[in-house]
Amino acid sequence: MITAERKPLDEIASCIEPYNRILLVGCNECVTVCAAGGRKEVAMLSSALQMVSMKQGKTLSVVEMTLERQCDPEYVESLALHIDGVDAVVSMACGCGVQEIARRFGQVRVFPAVNTKFMGASERAGVWAERCQGCGDCLLGLTGGICPIARCSKRLMNGPCGGSGDGKCEISGEVDCAWHLIWERMKALGIEDRYEEVISAKDWRPARGGGPRKIIREDLQ
């Protein structure tokens, strides 16, 4: 899932400062699940922005909507009915959603209300952690199912650096050493010997070599 985090309120507020009527759009997919841009957060942000304007003696009208997905044009299309009456759009979806709205409605300013963070999993209620960097060439099969690219602070592919201690990364005691986890997993799987195989320098082209990536399925077009 893509995770995101709400931007500081004053950043959002200053974006929309010149406007009196905004369309605030949430997304019912990833950002709902990570509690950053679902219906509840839309309503919270809407209230907060209105209160900020009240403080400034202004009146801000907010049209709240939450789309099933902001990254699909068909869903975004449903905003067409409302776009004319508003001065600006604030999207609480990930960067994809913001861009999709901007693409469709070129005539109005679109602002992001969240910072899109990473592809992650929820560790437990209220905690999400990065798990994948979308490198385009998955090597999890070599590392016991734990990704060193996403989870090692140095993206080391051949084992831990010398700085880890007690299974934690040198960066912070809150961060697990990915290679420690990989090693433990390898032991559990009885494939310790595979560790000593050198993973050669990675071909990063699938990640960012060819500009924005695309997946095309001819059969579905």
Binding site: N28, E29, T32, V33, A35, G38, R39, K40, E41, A43, T66, S122, R124, A125
Partner: protein, 1011 residues
């Protein structure tokens, strides 16, 4: 009223429609047993209907009683027969044949609408006179009467035709005749109460001659909003507000003179304190209140604290003496009281504007006759004779007595006895009789789909309770202007039957689909109004109650304008909220029909046995290794009954009963679940294995601990012991006792102290019991009882008198100068003030017995309270749900308290409460289903993002992601806390009754955003 009863065979007859009879009837009907409730009067309600406010919360009783009456009259299982008397009983327990005679009413209660036309035209002919002559309180009936109909005074009526023609409903029946019926019942409960003593017989107080001498009940009426002066305090002679009021206690009780009775009426001390406090509350410094008393008998739960509040917070003056006489002080009506204050010896005079005589109870004139008809014995005071170990059982099996008919007592004790007698009476009914019972039937619910909201607003004035502060007409007018409000009106006491009828009719007439009540707390009255909605064919959740009494009028009494404005806001909020209501269905679950009784003492065993007898499975958990509890250390009661024999019989019955499982050495560790489906975990010693018990209800009978003090050389000198230890000694070492010359007893040791502020209730009787017992074996013994107030309430006063007669010396001491005890060889030297002689005395005592009473075991009750989420009083006893009206129910539904876990009690009282707890438990257990209410979380599958927040947030692990890939919440498992709803990031979950829309609408209504 119940019509077409298929069979009366297995009903219980209840005689007397006072609070005791009503409570017994309600309990039995809740337990789905049939009841015939008769009262000789045209209406039920008894003495309570005349009280203004009751202690210790100073609530108005009308408010608390009305729901019971309204519900009582409507219960399917209750056949209410006013103007009816019992004229014959034959047969035996389980199969009595009774003869009932109903006097003619001359008015058809089914037709009469109480429009009042007949009363207007012929006030003399008609009973039900809300005009209320305050001098004749016993013939008054409060205005919201059940049954809601007039009756004709035939002997006064000379022109029946004309009278009958007045009635538009044709309800007046000239030829009405007395009817006699024979019916079959399984058991009989007598709850006829007693009369209130009329002090005309006392010539020294001038009652009946001096207009400003009134009885406490009359004073109550004067203060009552529904009374003759509409709540204005006016003295009868000239209608002026008095500045000095005196109460004289024990008027007609505890006396030997003409017209007096020797026993104590038990309730008068609290009655006087309450009246003095209420008076001070209303008039503060404008009035002075003085109570003349002999002993202040505040022995009930937390009553001592109430007494202290009267003294300290309200500055009620207290004079310990029995005034000699009342004579007129001036022609305007002032009164002079002459008295000799205890300990001073000089005659004093004081002048008052008004004097209130605290008159007690007298056995009613009908008692003797009734007892004859019933074939039951009365005691020397003409009250019902009952057993020491079963204070509600009369001498004839199957016939029970409760309330003041058994002995003078207050409301909570009456209710405890009522529940107890209901429990015991229920035993005589065949189980078959309850099996086919039906629940109340309501008309089919109207489909309101697609209708626009049509709201009816009904505002209670609650006597003066609301209207005294809030401008009700203003609020009503305002509410009428709110959106969607079709009708807005005031309804007096909204919870009275009359008002409920109005509400029901209005719903029909105005085609309302939503109702707002402005009244008291929904906590207490919601179900009543919901019932009314259902009767009107509306879903019960189309209701909002604005709490304009408890949370407005009562707390803003000093700011009427603000209170009126707030009442408008609260009603606006409720009406905005109710617009968003929609019909809901309650969720019903199966109930576990077994009980857990915690505590294997006398209370616990009695509760267990009663439940087992009525075929419920009982788990009796006791922490000790044996049953019996504190009673193992008691050998006899004050009336000489043999405790060990009783106890061993009881233990044998409990152990042998097939429906009881006794679990000894059981230590409570955890608890979960809902009423009807609890799970409680114990660790069982000595191996400490864990056992979880599933049960439907819980009765807490953990008792209290005998108090022990570090004072008066207790545990330091062998001559010093507690009363309980003295009892043991008399029993086990009679030789030793017979050698003694002097015994001293000190009362209130470790009770009524800052540390343990309440009265331990049982110590005065225990001291007298031991004193009499000592004198039996050693008649020459000198016994000194050093006391603060002798609290031998009710008939215990007989033993107090006997002790005095047999030479026990009673000497009063004050906490400021307590007795001094020093070691002196084999005995102790006790030095104390003798107030009559005004000098110090020293007694060389062979034995010093300390009345140490009870103290709750703070640590263990706290532990239980934590585990069960129950509330305790400041001194560590369990707090009942309502001190007056629900004395054995606890604040958590499904929990009941019995015995000394509730407050100090003697064995008989503990047993009664145990029976009451069992009876209350049966009201739950007899149902086989539990209503979980309609508050459940519901998922909008279109919105659900399957984020698992609800799955993780639910404290009961109810939500799950189903095969259709959205979160599903099983309504039968949902506890309705709403945590998932407030955490759902997709706003896909709504807690019914508390959805976003009504919650937001309420906010908007309250804060006037849309108006």
């Amino acid at each position: 009223m119940k019509a077409n009863r298929p069979s009366d065979h297995h009903a219980v007859l209840i005689i007397g429609g006072g609070i005791g009879g009503i409570k017994a009837a309600l309990d039995l009907s809740e337990a789905r047993k049939d009841v015939i409730l008769i009262d000789k009067s045209p209406a039920i309600g008894g003495v309570l209907t005349q009280l203004d406010r009751t202690f210790p919360t100073n609530n108005c009783d009308i408010c608390t009683l009305s729901p019971n009456l309204s519900a009582g009259a409507r219960q399917k299982h209750i056949d209410l027969m006013p103007l009816t008397q019992l004229t014959g009983v034959e047969g035996e327990a389980g199969n009595f044949t009774i003869t009932l005679t109903t006097a003619p009413r001359y008015i058809d209660t089914e037709k009469c609408t109480a429009c009042g036309l007949c009363l207007d035209k012929f006030p003399k002919y008609i009973r039900f006179t809300p005009g209320l002559d305050h001098r004749a309180p016993t013939c008054m009936r409060y205005p919201r009467v059940t049954p809601h109909a007039f009756s004709v005074k035939r002997d006064q009526c000379s022109d029946f035709e004309t009278l009958a023609s007045v009635c538009p409903a044709g309800a007046i029946i000239q030829g009405d005749k007395a009817k006699t019926r024979q019916l079959h019942v399984g058991a009989i409960i007598v709850a006829v109460g007693a009369d209130v003593f009329s002090p005309e017989a006392l010539d020294n107080y001038g009652y009946g001659k001096l207009p400003n001498v009134v009885t406490s009940l009359e004073y109550e009426r004067i203060m009552s909003a529904s009374g003759p002066t509409f709540g204005e305090l006016q003295r009868p002679s000239d209608g002026c507000q008095p500045r000095r009021v005196a109460w004289i206690q024990c008027a007609g009780s505890r006396g030997q003179n003409k017209g007096e009775v020797s026993y104590c009426s038990s309730v008068c001390c609290m009655f006087a304190l309450k009246e003095a406090i209420v008076t001070k509350e209303r008039f503060k410094e404008d009035i002075e209140t003085t109570i003349f008393y002999m002993d202040m008998r505040t022995f009930g739960k937390d009553y001592e604290m109430y007494y202290q509040r009267a003294k300290e917070d309200y500055h009620v003056r207290l004079k310990r003496c029995r005034p000699h006489s009342i004579i007129p002080a001036d022609p305007d009506g002032a009164l002079k009281i002459s008295y000799v204050e205890d300990g001073f010896g000089t005659l004093e005079d004081e002048t008052y504007d008004m004097v209130v005589l605290a008159t007690g109870f007298r056995p009613s004139a009908e008692s003797t006759g009734l007892a004859k008809v019933l074939g039951i014995e009365l005691n020397d005071h003409c009250y019902a004779r009952t057993g020491s170990f079963n204070p509600v059982a009369t001498s004839r099996p199957g016939i029970y007595a409760c309330g003041v008919f058994e002995a003078p007592k207050d409301i909570p004790e009456t209710l405890v006895q009522a529940s107890a007698s209901a429990c015991l009476a229920g035993k005589h009914l065949l189980p078959a009789a309850t099996a086919d019972s039906t629940e109340p039937v309501y008309p089919p619910e109207k489909d309101i789909t697609g209708e626009l909201p049509r709201i009816g607003v009904f505002v209670c004035d609650c006597g003066q309770n609301i209207s005294g502060t809030v401008d009700v007409p203003d609020v009503v007018n305002y509410a009428g202007l709110l959106p969607h409000v079709v009708v807005s009106r005031s309804v007096g006491y909204g919870c009275s039957r009359e008002s409920l009828d109005i509400i029901r009719k209005t719903i029909a007439d105005k085609k309302l689909n939503r109702v707002v009540i402005g009244g008291c707390s929904p906590r207490t009255h919601e179900s009543l109004f919901q019932d009314t909605l259902m009767q009107a064919g509306l879903n019960k959740y189309m209701l909002e109650i604005a709490n304009i009494r408890d949370q407005n009028a009562w707390v803003h009494a000093d700011r009427p304008e603000d209170a009126t404005r707030k009442a408008k806001e609260l009603i606006r909020m409720a009406s905005a909220g109710v617009v968003e209501s929609h019909p809901l269905i309650d969720h019903i679950l199966e109930l576990n029909q077994s009980a857990l009784v915690i505590g294997g003492g006398v209370s616990g065993m009695n509760a267990a046995l009663e439940l087992a007898e009525q075929n419920y499975t009982v788990y009796l958990a006791e922490q000790a290794g044996e049953l019996g509890g504190l009673a193992r250390q008691i050998h006899r009661t004050i009336d000489g009954s043999d405790v060990p024999t009783y106890l061993s019989g009881l233990m044998g019955e409990v152990r042998a009963h097939k429906n009881i499982e006794v679990i000894l050495n059981a230590v409570l560790v955890d608890h979960e679940g809902l009423p009807g489906m609890f799970k409680t975990g114990f660790q069982i010693a000595p191996q400490m294995y864990y056992r979880q018990i599933e049960h439907g209800v819980t009765i807490l009978a953990v008792g209290a601990a005998p108090n022990r003090v570090d004072d008066y050389l207790l545990d330091k000198h062998e001559a010093v012991c507690t009363q309980m230890e003295l009892g043991n000694l008399i029993h086990t070492a009679p030789d030793k006792v017979s050698d003694w010359e002097n015994v001293v007893m000190i009362q209130c040791v470790g009770s009524r102290t800052p540390d343990n502020p309440n009265c331990s209730r049982i110590c005065c009787q225990a001291a007298i019991k031991n004193a009499l017992w000592l004198l039996d074996s050693n008649p020459d013994l000198n016994i000194y009882i050093l006391y603060r107030d002798m609290r031998t309430y009710g008939f215990l006063e007989d033993y107090y008198l006997e002790a005095r007669r047999r030479g026990v010396i009673f000497v009063r001491y004050t906490p400021e100068s307590p007795p001094v005890v020093e070691a002196g060889g084999a005995g102790v030297h006790v030095t104390f003030n003798e107030p009559m002689l005004g000098m110090k005395l020293m007694v060389v005592a062979d034995c010093l017995a300390l009345s140490t009473g009870f103290k709750s075991d703070d640590e263990s009750t706290e532990d239980l309270a934590k585990i069960f989420h129950l509330t305790r009083t400041g001194d560590g006893y369990f707090l009942e749900d309502h001190t007056k009206l629900k004395p054995v129910d606890m604040s958590v539904p499904g929990f009941f308290v019995a015995g000394t876990a509730h407050s100090p009690k003697n064995i008989g009282e503990s047993i009664t409460q145990a029976h009451a707890a069992a009876g209350r438990a049966i009201t739950v257990l007899s149902r086989n289903l539990i209503n979980m209410g309609a508050s459940v979380a519901q998922v909008d599958k279109e919105r659900c993002a399957t984020c698992l927040v609800c799955v993780r947030a639910c404290p009961y692990d109810v939500p799950f992601i189903n095969e259709d890939r959205y979160s599903e919440i099983d309504p039968s498992k949902c506890h309705g806390c709403g945590t998932c709803a407030s955490e759902c990031p997709a706003q896909a979950i709504q807690l019914t009754r508390f959805e976003d829309r009504p919650m937001m609408a309420k906010l908007e209504g309250l804060l006037e955003r849309k108006l």
